[in-house]
């Protein structure tokens, strides 16, 4: 691959560069015209600020339980949203829980999408028996509903936040791998991929420098849905009692402890963490949807 004449390489990269910049602007314009996408984007920015900058402004003790202040309703002095079953300030708890939810969701989706894209690109590029075997692996994993598979794993190992990332990623890479495989199948017959092969470029070069970068749209759209799904799955595991060890928490764990007091009518332990989960997930879905239609408009 080093035998490629230099000017040609520069030409090639220059061409790709201007093209991707132009289409990037088109996509960005289409995205900005989508009202729901903007709403989602703004909300996510707010959520990130709330969870990560919020604790710097709104100081609460999220390490030591305070048993003299249990179950205070929202509006109590010093506790805007009240306190939970351990006396933690609920607003501060939402920030801490949100950090875990967002970090795990983001990392799991990132890991899964990267791995899935590489897996799918290889399968689609090589085709034939390699493709069949790789895709049957995906089919097999997909046949086991993800909640069952993750619960199965989460139940038998003692969980840390890192484990949760891997457990969620283990089921989340399957859909991206299918999507990228489909794209790789059509991309591999394109002229520029053929040209790389003709010039003596290796399969790795074709896959990593040409096929995967050209599926970036699909990857981005899918990643935003994957983050939403990962947040939901982590919250579900937390709700089922397989959360992060205390004093750490996430929104699902908060719901799980709130459930014990539901018949006592402590609605704030249910409404606030749940609303945080739903609004964040909706926002990611809005962004994903807007990205998808923006990319579709570019193709038209």
């Amino acid at each position: 691959m080093s035998s490629t004449p230099l000017p040609q390489t520069q030409l090639e990269t220059a061409a790709i560069h201007t093209k991707s910049k132009g289409s990037f602007r088109l996509v960005a314009e289409a995205f900005l015209a989508d009202r729901l996408g903007i709403v989602g984007m703004v909300f996510l920015m707010f959520m990130v600020l709330f969870c990560f900058v919020g604790p710097l402004v709104y100081h609460t003790n999220q390490i030591n339980a305070n048993i003299t202040n249990l179950h205070l309703p929202p509006g109590s002095p010093g506790h805007i949203l009240g306190t939970d079953q351990d006396g933690y300030d609920l607003l501060g708890r939402l920030m801490v829980g949100g950090q875990t939810a967002l970090i795990i969701g983001f990392l799991a989706a990132f890991l899964a999408t990267m791995f899935g894209a590489i897996w799918g690109a290889f399968a689609g590029y090589y085709g034939g028996i390699v493709d069949s075997v790789m895709m049957r692996v995906v089919d097999t994993m997909l046949a086991i509903p993800s909640l069952f598979l993750t619960l199965f794993l989460a139940a038998v190992v003692t969980i840390t936040s890192q484990d949760l990332i891997f457990i969620v990623a283990l089921v989340a890479w399957l859909i991206p791998s299918r999507l990228i495989r489909g794209e790789a199948l059509s991309l591999k017959s394109r002229e520029y991929v053929q040209a790389v092969r003709m010039m003596g470029g290796s399969s790795f070069r074709a896959i990593f420098l040409h096929i995967i970068p050209n599926t970036i749209g699909t990857i981005m759209v899918n990643a935003s849905f994957q983050i939403a799904d990962a947040i939901l799955l982590v919250a579900a595991l937390g709700y089922l009692g397989l959360g992060v060890p205390p004093p750490a928490t996430n929104w699902g764990d908060m719901l799980a402890s709130g459930t014990n007091f539901i018949l006592a009518g402590y609605w704030w332990l249910i409404y606030f963490p749940g609303a945080a989960i739903v609004l964040t997930v909706v926002a990611f879905n809005f962004v994903g949807d807007a990205l998808r239609s923006a990319l579709e408009q570019r193709i038209k």
Partner: protein, 317 residues
């Protein structure tokens, strides 16, 4: 088409075989294994060795796998440590209860989602469509465990209209059957609301697709009213994607049922799985996971076959 169905069948069997391997291997990767989980942290090494020998757990993994597979093919799903009963018997009583929950939710979802989707498709990009779209996004993103809790807070705690727990016991018992309608109301609504959100989305786009077809335009121009066109030409064609979705959405529904059962303490297969997971009851975990996977595969197989039968334009070579 027969050839296509046969090929899909063979493919499904291969995948199912793969599922047994994945599930089995994953479970046996866990350090300590069944003996430690069952005998507890105080068990001595000798206890564990004796336990493993007795249950054949000291044999090589492939031998254990084939023994397990052989047993399953003979209908022996193993013996549950936690419930002290054969797994087949546990699933025999719990699976029908899950199917009642899922069936009722599917039914409610279809009855609501089809008209809703048609309305949205016909009025697409108008105000009412936007409003309904926002709601379906909201419900679609709403995890069943939260939706269920909110419904309990509203209908059981505040209004006190419906009980917060599902019927207990087994199908056919008086305690179960007498509570069936009232007790299942909230669980079914929980599961149905989420399914409606998904189904109506598909129905909407299917209606939008068939509205622009030539035969619909012909029907309108030869003088059929819009209601007649909708009923005879649009609705029938738009049901095809929904049919596929029914089969494909089965795994999501099983997951939803698991969560719903744990919220309302409904003693179905989801709750069985959850309890087994909490107590490392390996035989029950293996068997339930396998059954859910078989159902998932059967669902997508049926969806493909139905699709091939219903839509004569699709030809498989």
């Amino acid at each position: 088409m027969v050839g296509y169905i046969v090929r899909r069948l063979i493919q499904s069997v291969i995948v199912l075989f793969g599922v047994t391997i994945v599930v089995f291997v994953l479970l046996h990767l866990i350090p300590g294994g069944e003996a430690r989980a069952l005998l507890g942290p105080k068990a001595t090494q000798a206890d564990i060795i004796a336990f493993n020998r007795e249950l054949g757990l000291d044999k090589p993994l492939p031998v254990q796998y084939f023994t397990w597979l052989n047993n399953i093919l003979h209908g022996n799903l193993g013996y549950s440590y936690r419930f002290n009963a054969p797994v087949a018997q546990l699933i025999g009583t719990d699976l029908p209860k899950t199917l009642v929950l899922m069936g009722a939710s599917y039914l409610v979802a279809l009855i609501v989602a089809i008209p809703l989707g048609i309305l949205q498709g016909v009025r697409h990009n108008k105000f009412d469509d936007y409003t309904l779209t926002a709601f379906s996004f909201l419900f679609y993103s709403m995890p069943p465990y939260w939706l269920g809790l909110v419904l309990i807070l509203i209908f059981s705690v505040q209004l006190q209209w419906l009980p917060p727990t599902a019927p207990q016991g087994n199908l056919g018992q008086a305690s179960f059957d007498s509570q069936l309608v009232a007790g299942l109301a909230l669980p079914v609504i929980t599961l149905a609301l989420i399914t409606i959100a998904q189904f109506s989305r598909y129905q909407r786009s299917a209606v939008m697709d068939s509205l622009v077809q030539d035969h619909v335009r012909t029907a309108r121009s030869k003088g059929l009213t819009s209601m007649q066109t909708l009923g005879r030409h649009v609705l029938r064609n738009s049901l095809i994607p929904l049919l596929t979705l029914l089969g494909v959405s089965l795994p999501a529904l099983f997951a939803g049922a698991l969560l719903t059962e744990s919220i309302f303490n409904y003693p179905g297969m989801g709750l069985l799985f959850w309890q087994a997971a909490q107590s490392s009851d390996y035989p029950t975990l293996l068997a339930t996971t396998l059954i859910v996977s078989v159902a998932t595969l059967a669902g997508s197989l049926l969806a493909d076959i139905m699709y091939a039968i219903v839509d004569p334009r699709i030809r498989y070579s």
